[in-house]
């Protein structure tokens, strides 16, 4: 059979003519007008990742936080990142789940923290100088707050909650050794992580934050697009933990180190 040079797949003019001769073309159905194609084809064709995700995180199965602590965390993060008319917030994203798993895992136990004493209060530029691991910090602070607060956070109105959180943020009070502002900034940091990190860690449910801002996620390769200035990238964001079917396999306790072949040759 004639082979044309420079082909990128096995096909030739002869094949095309043969195909035409079989009359198969005549049997292929004439595509109806676009508007009549299958409804789901057309409707979903218009759906972009920019539309609000309808799925919300399921209820958290807590393994670290007790009921009282969880109630506080849920109430707090709901104010730190509230839901609005367009996008869900921390609760819908599963941030309490993220926080629970982080505090209960190796990060909470003190991974990546230099833990030797003595401990001294430093200047603001010297950073965190307390002996508490994140788990200890949260447990201590939440216990102290439970004692100090006349009304639990989840029983307050949203305005009261915001006011309370702002006072924590301002700081100046002591939570059994944890300065209020240190607790608040740790809580805010974990909340932001839980909202924006890869869903593999149990937060950012259904990649809600990535859809919200237009961040394409863990798969990134833009050689052909970087010089298309101003192009709108609107594809479904991708988690590092999702498979070809779109299922996300969470794995909250990924270590904060990268080891391979340690110990020498």
């Amino acid at each position: 059979m004639e082979q044309d040079s420079g082909k990128d797949f096995e096909f030739s003019r002869r094949d095309a003519l043969k195909l035409a001769a079989t009359g198969l073309l005549a049997t292929l159905p004439v595509t109806p007008a676009v508007a009549e194609t299958k409804p789901e084809t057309h409707a979903q064709h218009n759906q972009t990742s920019a539309k609000p995700a309808k799925q919300n995180a399921p209820k958290t199965t807590y393994t670290f936080l007790n009921r009282q602590e969880a109630a506080f965390i849920e109430a707090a993060v709901a104010r730190l990142i509230p839901a609005d008319e367009k996008w869900g917030g921390a609760i819908e994203a599963g941030v309490p789940n993220y926080i629970d798993k982080q505090l209960g895992g190796s990060w909470g136990a003190g991974e990546r923290l230099y833990r030797s004493g003595p401990w001294q209060k430093g200047t603001p530029t010297q950073g965190y100088q307390l002996p508490f691991t994140p788990a200890e910090l949260f447990r201590t602070a939440l216990k102290a707050l439970a004692k100090q607060m006349k009304k639990p956070l989840n029983k307050m109105t949203p305005e009261e909650q915001d006011s309370f959180l702002k006072s924590l943020e301002k700081g100046g009070t002591d939570l059994d050794g944890v300065p209020a502002e240190v607790f608040f900034s740790s809580l805010l940091q974990l909340t932001m992580e839980g909202f924006f990190s890869d869903p593999v860690y149990g937060g950012n449910y259904n990649k809600i934050s990535w859809r919200m801002i237009g961040f394409p996620g863990a798969y990134g390769s833009y050689y052909d697009l970087v010089d298309k200035h101003g192009i709108k990238i609107d594809r479904e964001p991708l988690s590092l933990a999702e498979d070809a079917m779109g299922k996300i396999h969470t794995h909250p306790n990924i270590p904060s180190s990268l080891k391979h072949g340690q110990g020498g040759r």
Binding site: R79, L80, I81, D84, W87, G89, W107, E111, R112, L113, Y114, R115, S116, P118, G122, T123, P124, T125, Q126, G127, Y128, Q129, L165, E169, L188, E193, F196, S197, D198, V200, Y201, W210, I213, F215, A218, Y219, G220, S221, Y222, Y223, L225, V226, D227, H229, G230, I231, K232, I233, S239, L240, A241, I254, P255, S256, L258, H260, Q262, G263, G264, R265
Partner: protein, 586 residues
């Protein structure tokens, strides 16, 4: 009790960039070389593969590729009146670990210092007079000139395959390049990277203002390339996960992609990982190194005798190793005497944001670590400092490298840090903001130095390194000036709002500001003000060379890696002469 091993010719303390290059150079001479690396061996496959590598939380926030700070940290204070406390989590700077060191997770930004940088003291005093400098400043000449280093810059750039556009070839200014750069002997090995939208907006504005934009020199390559070691690299995909991450594509120049395989091929080169060096051992006269003592991953102590010790452990670790080993006189800021720890410097970073209309899609996540556009008009001594009353400057550019949302969520000043308004602002501005950086130099001063901490120890029981550092007033005045120029550039860029953050005192260990720690074992021609001579050979111990940014007498505005690479090859040539005829090289 340490097990004494069979002697070797050369041992390198650390197998990062400097250790890998020198390890290969020494092994190529037929010498028996051992590279001791505290961290693990890391390879592009499987260790740097995405999607697992593209995990912002793990690598950018939790610092998975960095030195294990649970075992060994650094203490810090802003001045000698304070008590230094441990940096308990890496933030301000991020030392590397493992084979390749910090060159695994760097951004690939590859610069040369300027001609005047190497004779900085002479140059400044000549132009502005001795009285121009603030009394606390302690700038020095390097003992080596740009012209002497040029062939080694060239060699390093061709090792990396750096992508860029020459601005000055043998004195002839080239269109499209940096007209302020020192002369180079030939073009870059690969062409410049594609320009992203932010870079294009910046280019237009600075051109209007009369500045000279050029593409950022990038060791994340613009096209496939095979280097003189026979190692091949691929094309950067602009994935937006560059600094703090390893490169999945063999596109970022890291020792494992550009040089280490060449060393590992040689039977006389041996890599040992998981080996923490405790000290360099000296003979009883303390004039010769006899080798090093190290502890392996299982806690077993070994003595590795060697004829030649190359201290290639990163600037901070180099200085600490000298202090722990009792090599050289430690610097005393009160008397000004001593050299080990002297002239520690850093980087003076400034930033600005230009907020655009919602219709302008900047797409910050489409970026390489080094595909920006910048100007050199405001750096070094490229402008007249006489009326301004400070020295030094900054390169300014649209050099943003990523859009990773845990850490990158620009909002205008006054935006709350949480709540409904915060959320709306993040959505409004995330994809419609350009970031500028003013990457400023760091002038050495009498009060900034390194020594051993009196209180805090590492897991092996040894004192941590102590950093005493704050920005000299000179550098704060420089930062303010740079900030003002950045504001003008931002306004010319045509957004809706410009915000500028010029560096202010004091140095804050909790805010990332580059891992460009320099000095502490500076090079020079006078043993009273330098720890190593112009070949990076220790004045005190002639069979010890200390290679890294520890050699910088002060830091210019540019990222150090290019200059460290040039110094490494410069030292390699000296070492070739040394092994033929050992002794002090003056």
């Amino acid at each position: 009790m340490a097990t004494r091993l069979k002697p070797v010719d050369v041992v390198t303390v650390g197998v990062g960039m400097t250790g890998a290059i020198l390890g290969k150079e020494m092994a190529a001479l037929g010498l028996k070389v051992v590279g001791l690396e505290r961290g693990p061996q890391l390879d592009t496959v499987p260790d740097f593969q995405s999607p697992n590598m593209h995990d912002e939380l793990r690598f950018a926030v939790r610092k998975a590729l960095m030195q294990d700070n649970t075992k060994e940290a650094v203490t810090a204070r802003n001045n000698s009146d304070q008590t230094a406390l441990p940096i308990r989590r890496w933030d301000s700077f991020l030392p590397g670990t493992g084979t390749g060191g910090a060159m695994v997770h760097w951004n690939g930004q590859t610069y040369r210092f300027q001609v005047a940088d190497f004779i900085y003291k002479t140059h400044i005093e000549k132009r502005y007079g001795k009285k121009f400098l603030d009394p606390d400043l302690q700038i020095q000449d390097w003992g080596v000139t740009y012209d002497e280093l040029e062939p080694h810059y060239d060699r390093f750039e061709y090792l990396c395959g750096t992508s860029g556009k020459a601005g000055n070839i043998k004195g002839k200014i080239q269109a499209g390049g940096n007209p302020f750069e020192g002369w180079r002997s030939r073009e870059y090995p690969t062409p410049p990277m594609k320009e992203h939208y932010a870079g294009a907006l910046f280019r237009k504005a600075v051109t209007n203002l009369g500045y000279h934009p050029f593409p950022q020199p990038s060791s994340n390559l613009s096209q496939p390339y095979t280097n003189p070691e026979g190692l091949s690299m691929q094309t950067c995909s602009f994935c937006g996960f560059c600094e703090r991450f390893g490169c999945e594509h063999y596109a970022k120049s890291s020792p494992q992609t550009i040089i280490l395989p060449a060393a590992l091929k040689m039977s006389n080169y041996e890599l040992r990982t998981g080996c923490q060096v405790l000290r360099i051992n000296l003979d009883k006269d303390k004039k010769k190194a006899t080798g090093v003592t190290y502890v392996d991953a299982a806690g077993r102590e070994f003595e590795q005798p060697a004829d030649l010790v190359l201290l290639t452990a990163f600037s901070l670790n180099n200085v600490r190793m000298l202090l722990l080993s009792g090599i050289g006189k430690p610097y005393d800021p009160k008397t000004g005497e001593g050299v080990v720890g002297r002239n520690y410097a850093y980087q003076t970073m400034n930033s600005a944001q230009i907020f655009y209309d919602e219709s302008v899609n900047i797409n910050p996540f489409m970026a390489s670590g080094s595909s920006g556009t910048l100007i050199d008009d405001l750096s070094g001594d490229n402008f007249d400092h006489g009326p301004l009353k400070f020295i030094g400057g900054a390169y300014v550019g649209a050099i943003n490298t990523n859009g990773r949302p845990i850490e990158y969520r620009p909002t205008p000043p006054g935006t709350p840090k949480w709540g409904a308004d915060w959320k709306k602002a993040v959505v409004r501005h995330y994809n419609h903001t350009v970031n500028l950086n003013g990457h400023g130099g760091s002038t050495a001063s009498r009060q900034n130095y390194l020594d051993l901490d009196p209180t805090y120890k590492d897991a092996w029981g040894l004192p941590l390194l102590r950093i005493t550092f704050d920005f000299p007033d000179n550098d704060i005045r420089m930062a303010r000036y740079i900030g003002d120029q950045m504001k003008k550039i931002g306004e010319e860029m045509g957004g809706k709002q410009v915000a500028v953050q010029a560096r202010e005192k004091s140095w804050n260990t909790t805010v990332y500001q580059t891992t460009h720690n320099t000095g502490g074992a500076v090079m020079g021609t006078d043993p009273k003000t330098s720890a190593v001579n112009r070949y990076l050979q220790s004045w005190d111990v002639s069979n010890l060379f200390v290679v890294g940014a520890s050699a910088f007498p002060q830091n210019s505005c540019y990222n150090p890696t290019g200059t460290v690479g040039a110094l490494t090859y410069w030292a390699a040539e000296a070492l070739k002469r040394y092994v033929k005829s050992p002794g002090a090289m003056g």
